[in-house]
């Protein structure tokens, strides 16, 4: 029996960096079988070939596989889009105040790779923060910071996109930059310090821009796009989980019922999606397209992607029948078939999916209210119990 075909193998969201080796999935307590062969081979990363995004080809073949859409874009189209983006960047305030829809549409079409970093930096207004505080990053960078937090950051440096050329080398430039911006962030935001969810975001930013710009983008994301995501208690993520559940009830009632029946808390499958903005889940071209839209339209894009993915994997009643327990359902949600994560399948659906900020706000208020009531109820019960004792 193959170890991979019935949910008996490890199901990992980062399986793309872990080529699976089917092995027997049965062992016996009494068996005196020899030890499994250990694969402790160290990568010779630096000699590997990279794809156009900087990922080592062997590890990532399925992840960044050339998308048919790539081929459709002629050089002329790309050059034309670059020109438009450069023009927008040079007249940014005018476009932001008067032609926001134009920017949005261009983000939805996808930002050309050559200007992507700059576009993100502009879209999140990181460039304005940098202009307002021109020396702040250098100042933060020169500070020692909290050694305990620094240690925490250091432990994670070689656990970010290890299959990307920028982060593969121990203490290489990518890892050094990553350390610097996460440390600077922990100093400027002591109430957050360092949360592990930030490191993948910072890494994606570093793939597209210099450390100082990446730092400001990270600050903007944490302050304005996903506030509260990295605060102690992770309250904001839990609220967004509840909101996602609310949207499933509306858009995919049968899936909502299945998840409810199996008592699946949304944080069990959506934490990584939302916290890392899908950067560790989707195929890479899709990650970039989702981020292009996210920088312009905000968290609604992440909700849309989540609702579409869940609808794709569990929309079919036959698929739902296969999910007889919580485990099978979670396994499926954490191992979404590649075909649903490609640029070609996903992006058009995201663009046409209607979910307004007003609806988001409404659902947000609803869930916050619910949580408040539940909390009060719990407190009352605890009080009752305390007085009984």
């Amino acid at each position: 029996m193959s170890a991979n075909n019935d949910g008996f193998s490890r199901s990992s969201s980062c399986s793309r960096t872990r080529p699976s080796t089917p092995t027997s999935s049965t062992s016996s307590v009494d068996s005196s079988s020899t030890r499994p062969e250990v694969n402790g081979a160290v990568y010779s990363e630096l000699h590997k070939q990279c794809d156009r995004y900087g990922f080592f080809v062997e590890d990532n073949e399925s992840k960044t596989k050339k998308d048919p859409r790539d081929a459709q874009l002629s050089v002329d189209v790309i050059l034309n889009r670059e020109k438009k983006w450069l023009h927008m960047c040079n007249n940014w305030d005018k476009f932001m105040t008067k032609k926001w829809r134009k920017i949005r549409d261009r983000c939805r079409k996808g930002i050309p790779n050559s200007v992507r970093g700059r576009a993100w930096f502009y879209l999140c207004a990181g460039f304005k923060q940098k202009a307002r505080h021109p020396d702040l990053y250098q100042l933060l960078d020169s500070q020692i910071g909290d050694e305990k937090i620094n240690d925490e950051i250091r432990k994670d440096l070689n656990r970010q996109f290890p299959s990307h050329e920028m982060f593969a080398e121990n203490n290489g430039f990518g890892q050094q930059d990553l350390f610097h911006i996460l440390k600077a962030f922990s100093i400027i935001k002591p109430e957050i310090g360092y949360c592990q969810g930030q490191a993948p975001l910072a890494s994606v930013l570093l793939m597209h821009m210099p450390a100082e710009d990446a730092f400001w983008c990270l600050v903007q994301i944490c302050d304005h796009y996903i506030p509260g995501y990295f605060s102690p208690g992770l309250e904001a993520i839990q609220i967004h989980g509840a909101m996602l559940n609310g949207f499933l009830k509306r858009f995919h009632p049968p899936i909502y019922r299945l998840l409810k029946k199996q008592n699946i808390d949304p944080v069990l499958y959506m934490t990584e999606w939302f916290m890392c903005l899908f950067s560790r889940t989707l195929l890479w071209p899709s990650v970039l397209r989702v981020w292009d839209m996210f920088f312009c339209e905000g968290i609604s894009v992440i909700f849309k992607v989540a609702i579409i993915l869940i609808g794709s994997v569990l929309g079919d009643s036959e698929e739902r029948k296969k999910c007889s327990t919580m485990y099978e359902t979670l396994h499926l949600l954490r191992n979404i078939p590649v075909k649903y994560m490609s640029e070609e399948y996903l992006i058009d659906k995201v663009v046409t999916f209607e979910l307004s900020n007003r609806e988001l706000q409404k659902e947000h208020n609803l869930q916050v209210m619910k949580r408040k009531k539940e909390k009060e109820k719990r407190q009352k019960e605890e009080q009752k119990r305390a007085t009984k004792n």
């Binding site: 490890r10 199901s11 960096t17 062992s27 402790g40 432990k155 990295f230 102690p232 069990l268 934490t271």
Partner: protein
């Protein structure tokens, strides 16, 4: 594939102690020196055989960072076994065991079997926590103890399987109510439908896995 029982496990402990590597070594029999860190939770599963019975282990691997505790607590619910892991080369990960233990005991059922694991035993030259200290901690808190190496695979099988044995024994003794899924144990489809309610203290139930 049919099984007699399903046990739910959780793996907990500080960040970077090797929780994901232990799971990968157990489920896939390989060691991945470089990998993405765990955010939220990941899952793995494997079949083992105890006393001639097929047992499916369903393992939940959790993020170790303090910030994630509020989320990981919800994974504790309904676990029959827990692997509490520290790194023998980092004293602080050993010092935090009490907090982890309190957390686990508070949010799980009281019969949960806890296995204390001192991981990275291959790094003897960098050892900061003596084996005796791990043993003493386990003795004091009523845990089973083992030192493992996810890298060389030393004791990894044993850690997962001995935990399962202990759970299995508790079932035999009637300590676990196997009809209550909140205990992290499920009777598998291997038992014929006519016999879904097994005797709790079935001394004779150790014979044969196909049907009882």
């Amino acid at each position: 594939m049919s099984y007699a029982y399903l046990f739910k496990y959780i793996i907990i402990g500080d960040t970077g102690v090797g929780k994901s590597c232990l799971l990968l070594q157990f489920t896939d029999k390989r060691f991945q020196p470089v990998h993405d860190l765990t955010i939220g939770v990941e899952f793995g599963a494997r079949m083992i055989t105890i006393d001639g019975k097929q047992i499916k282990l369903q393992i939940w691997d959790t993020a170790g960072q303090e910030a994630f505790r509020s989320i990981t607590r919800s994974y504790y619910r309904g676990a029959a076994g827990a692997l509490l892991v520290y790194d023998i080369t980092r004293r602080d990960t050993f010092n935090h065991l009490t907090t982890w233990l309190e957390d686990a005991r508070q949010h799980s059922n009281s019969n949960m079997v806890i296995m204390l694991i001192g991981n990275k035993s291959d790094l003897e030259s960098r050892r900061e926590v003596k084996k005796e200290e791990g043993e003493a901690f386990a003795r004091e808190h009523g845990l089973i103890f083992m030192e493992t190496s996810a890298k060389t695979a030393a004791n990894v099988e044993e850690a997962f399987i001995n935990t399962a044995k202990e759970i299995y024994e508790k079932i035999q003794e009637g300590v676990f109510d196997i009809n209550n899924e909140a205990n992290g144990i499920k009777i598998g489809p291997q038992h014929s439908p006519t016999n879904t309610s097994l005797p709790l203290s079935g001394s004779g139930s150790s014979q044969g896995g196909g049907c009882c």
